[in-house]
């Protein structure tokens, strides 16, 4: 077994601010993902990474940067926070690209 941790749990920022969300997994999984979930909606893929130092854009990558510093960690940066960005950001990992995904508890972003 393993666990995915996301920090912080709650993030409050000002409009225009650069904000960073972090994700760590101890499954030793190769692939990691960042999703955004707006209230009452499904998940949309922002970025994914198939191995350390790899980055691939999802459907919602504009306005975000990501960094896969090492196999176990994957960071997401909101480059300039906007009020319509308030959402829950979920990190996930999987052993390979076609294996079962596991999710972290999420970071709830509020932009003032």
């Amino acid at each position: 077994g393993g666990i995915i941790t996301q920090t912080p749990k709650f993030l409050i920022g000002q409009e225009g601010q650069k904000l960073t969300l972090k994700c760590q997994q101890n499954f030793n999984h190769d692939t990691m993902y960042w999703y955004r979930q707006d209230s009452g909606k499904g998940l949309r893929l922002i970025y994914y990474s198939i191995t350390e130092n790899d980055l691939q854009k999802g459907d919602l990558s504009e306005g975000y940067d990501a960094s896969r510093e090492k196999k176990s960690s994957f960071s997401l940066t909101v480059t300039s926070a906007q009020k319509n960005e308030m959402a829950v950001f979920l990190c996930a990992s999987s052993r390979t690209g076609d294996a079962e995904q596991f999710f972290g508890p999420g970071t709830r972003l509020t932009v003032l």
């Binding site: 692939t31 993902y33 999703y35 909606k41 499904g42 998940l43 949309r44 893929l45 994914y48 198939i50 691939q56 999802g58 459907d59 979920l90 996930a92 690209g97 076609d98 294996a99 079962e100 995904q101 596991f102 999710f103 972290g104 508890p105 999420g106």
Partner: protein
């Protein structure tokens, strides 16, 4: 783009009734997974089922790859089953997992 349609959008049951949730997708899937989410909670993996039939507890998933559909059957529903159920698929040839909009289930006592 890739589409995942879930039906029904919402479902209200009495405790003890069975639920049948459907997921249809627009292209061949190499990965198909069902998730559960409580309001304000994270996603919990229920079943990973890219093809065939799988069971766990009161849950049964059947995926018919050729017909591009999957179903999740919940037997003898309980109030604690209330929440949103998501279907997620990965199209052949890519890592870009696509999620449906979810089915909101409410089980009343």
């Amino acid at each position: 783009g890739q589409q995942v349609q879930q039906s029904p959008a919402s479902l209200v049951l009495q405790e003890g009734e069975n639920a049948e949730l459907q997921c249809n997708f627009s292209s061949t899937a190499t990965r198909l997974q069902w998730f559960y989410q409580r309001p304000g909670g994270s996603l919990v993996s229920l079943l990973y089922n890219p093809s065939g039939t799988k069971h766990t507890g009161r849950l049964t998933s059947t995926t018919v790859t050729k017909e591009r559909r999957s179903s999740l059957h919940i037997s003898s529903s309980q109030t604690t089953d209330s929440g949103t159920y998501f279907c997620a698929m990965e199209p052949a040839g890519g890592y870009k997992v696509v999620f449906g909009s979810g089915t909101r289930l409410l089980v009343s006592p």
